[in-house]
Each structure stands twice: as C-alpha cells, then as structure tokens.
C-alpha cells in the first residue's frame, strides 16, 4: 500500500461534504470536505504502488475543472485513471447538490 499527498493552490468553495464509491476491486472511495485552509489537500492510499505521476496528472485535470479548496481522501483498490476521474467528478457533483 502506498500513501501519496498532493496540495493545490485553489480557493473555490466546497458547499457540502461528499462520500462516493466503495473500496472494491478496481474501484475507489472518495471523501471530500471543505479544506481547513485556502488550498486543496489530497491524501491517497492505494493498493498499486509506483503511479505517483499518474495520480498527479489526474488531479491536475480535476482541479483545473473544479478549483475548489477541498480536503480529499482517496482509498483506492486499483482503479484505472478513468474510473478515478469519474469518481472525482461524481464527488464534486454530490458536493454541489
């Protein structure tokens, strides 16, 4: 298991906290809450090691689209980047609704 941390200098508002997904094979769970400070923080625990650059690329694209100061926790069990992006989008939608 690998733990990765990322920070983003974004300051948009997070209306509600959100939880999506399940830590099933090929899937992931996301907990999204307002960040305590005007930045976004992401903590990832993943079962597949060595893909730090891929995670960063996915998060770069996500925060370019949703520049919100969110504290995000990801518990990942081998989801593909496409699935990660889908769940991040779902978490963002749930947090806005």
């Amino acid at each position: 298991m690998e733990t990765l941390n990322f920070d983003y200098p974004v300051s948009g508002k997070v209306p509600h906290r959100a939880q999506v997904g399940v830590v099933g094979s090929g899937d992931l769970e996301i907990l999204l809450e307002p960040s305590p400070d005007p930045q976004a923080h992401v903590r990832i625990r993943t079962s597949v090691e060595g893909f730090g650059t891929t995670w960063k690329a996915v998060l770069d694209q996500f925060f370019a689209r949703y520049p919100a100061a969110a504290a995000i926790e990801i518990n990942d069990f081998g989801a593909t980047p496409g699935t990660v992006a889908l769940r991040l989008g779902q978490a963002a939608e749930v947090s806005k609704s």
């Binding site: 399940v22 830590v23 769970e29 518990n75």
Partner: protein
C-alpha cells in the same frame, strides 16, 4: 428509465423499467432503502473515519466505514436499526471494527427495548464470514454478534436480508440463521461453507465450484425458501424487499425460533438415508412436507 412505446412489451418487461434493483444498491443505499423515507441517521459514518487499524498494517487499503453501515431510523413508523454490510469491500468480511459496529448496534437496540421502546433490527447480510486478516478478532466479535441477536430477538424481530451477489457465508451465515426471520432473493446464497472450500476439501467430483446452477440449487434463495431455511423469497425489487421487512416486523416476535426446533431438524437428519445420493429436489419434497413452522 422506461423504454419508450411500451405497447408491444410484456408487463414483466415494463416492470423491469420501473422497479428499482435492490442488488445493485451499495450498503449505504440499502440501509436507506430499508428505513422509512427521511428517518435514516447514520452512526459512525465515513467521516468519523472508524477504519480497521489492522488492514493498513498488512498493506491493504481500508474503507472509511470498514464495510459496515449502521443507521437508526424507523420501519413502518416504529423505531428500528438498519445494519448493512458492503459485500464489495473485502467480501463483506467481519473484522474488529465492522463486527463491533454490528454488535453494538444490536446491543443498543436491546437496551432500548429493555427501556420499553420496541426497536427491531434488520441486517442486510453480504458476507463471506470472518476477515482472515483479523481472524481472531473476527471470531470473537462474531460470538458477540450471535449473543446480541439471541438476546435481542426475544424483544423484537431481527430480520436478515440476504440478496446477493455476495450472499451469506461462514460465520455470518450462522448469524443469519439465528435471526427471527430470513428474507432472500433467488440470486442470494446462504451456506456455511463456500463452494471453493468444499471443492478444495472434498474434490471436484463432489462439488465443482464452477457449476453455478448446481451451487444455487443447493444454497440459493429458492432452495432455502423451499426447504424452510428462509421465510420469504422476493424478487430483486427494492420495494418488495422493504415490504417483506415491514410485514415481518409487524408480525412481531415469532412463537418459536427456527433455532429452537432442534428435534425437528435432528429427526430430519436421522431420517435421511445416507446410502443414496439425495438431490436438491428430493430435499424440497421431503422437508417441505414437514415445514419449518
């Protein structure tokens, strides 16, 4: 979403478009479904972050709720607690945290009953049994769960819903069997030993774990209902599952628990001629005549 132009389609197909699948729901949505609308209040939810401390030590990614959702609310207007296991997280297996969530929820329901507030419980069971990575604690907490079910069921119904696709195996199959009532779908399975374990122990000639129709004929919902181990057989329809649970809660504590019918089950076993191969159909015929209640 409904297909347009339903005039050519059979009622069964139209129903497919309108019914809500219960099996497709995750644990949280199942607990929400089982409680009356608007009454769902989760205890120790994801944001409380009560995870397994043991899984990360073994390099396994935990889930924020340890694969178990506990919610307080109402069913049919009466107080109830809903407990749902997430079959997709580590096979719904029982570890220290999720086991204690179940045991404690049942315990709190019992103390409410003892104070005079009749509180039932419904368990959505999707579990392979004890979590091997937390083996000893899993066994211990299962013992607590059994004790709580046995104590609680004297006060109010404890209803197990086994819907699939994980089913109820291992130690959680026993917990299911201890409940006042068991609701199953056809897709669900209820069995102590898993097919793979049986094949490993007894050989593929005895049981081929890949032979799905055979497996379901032994321990699938239809067979369990027909032989008296399940009390209701429902379609994969959230409304039907809820209706069955509401109805069973309304019926109250049964006069006799299945687990107390020791003479009945012992005599059934004694009457089995082990000299010949019995088929699932034989068992249905022979045991249904007696009936479980």
């Amino acid at each position: 979403m409904n297909p347009s132009e339903t005039f050519e389609l059979s009622p069964e197909v139209v129903a497919l478009g309108t019914r809500r699948s219960y099996i497709e729901l995750g644990a949280r949505d199942r607990a929400r479904q089982l409680l009356d609308p608007g009454t769902f209040r989760e205890l120790l939810g994801p944001f409380d972050r009560l995870e397994s401390p043991w899984l990360p030590m073994q390099g396994i990614v935990p889930q924020s709720d340890d694969g178990c959702v506990v919610a307080k609310g109402a069913i049919g207007g009466k107080p109830a607690v809903a407990i749902a296991l997430e079959g997709k997280f580590q096979g719904g297996s029982i570890g220290e945290v999720c086991g204690m969530k179940i045991a404690t929820a049942l315990h709190l329901a019992r103390t409410d009953n003892e104070k005079g507030i009749t509180t039932g419980a419904v368990l959505s069971v999707e579990s392979g049994g004890v979590r091997l990575q937390e083996a000893n604690m899993g066994e211990l907490v299962l013992a607590e769960i059994y004790a709580e079910i046995v104590a609680l069921r004297l006060h109010a119904p404890v209803i197990a819903v086994v819907a699939g696709m994980t089913g109820a195996f291992g130690g959680m199959s026993l917990a299911t069997a201890l409940c006042s009532h068991v609701v199953m779908t056809r897709q669900a399975r209820l069995s102590m030993n898993g097919p793979e374990v049986i094949e490993l122990e007894a050989g593929v000639e005895e049981l081929d774990a890949r032979d799905k129709p055979f497996i379901w004929s032994l321990c699938g919902g239809a067979q369990r209902f027909a032989t008296g181990f399940a009390d209701r057989l429902v379609e994969d329809d959230a409304a039907q599952v809820s209706a069955a649970v509401v109805d069973l809660l309304r019926q109250g504590v049964p006069e006799v628990f299945r687990t107390s019918m020791i003479d009945l089950f012992l005599s059934r076993l004694a009457a089995l001629d082990t000299g010949r191969q019995w088929t699932p159909g034989d068992i249905r015929e022979t045991w249904a005549k007696g009936g479980a209640r």
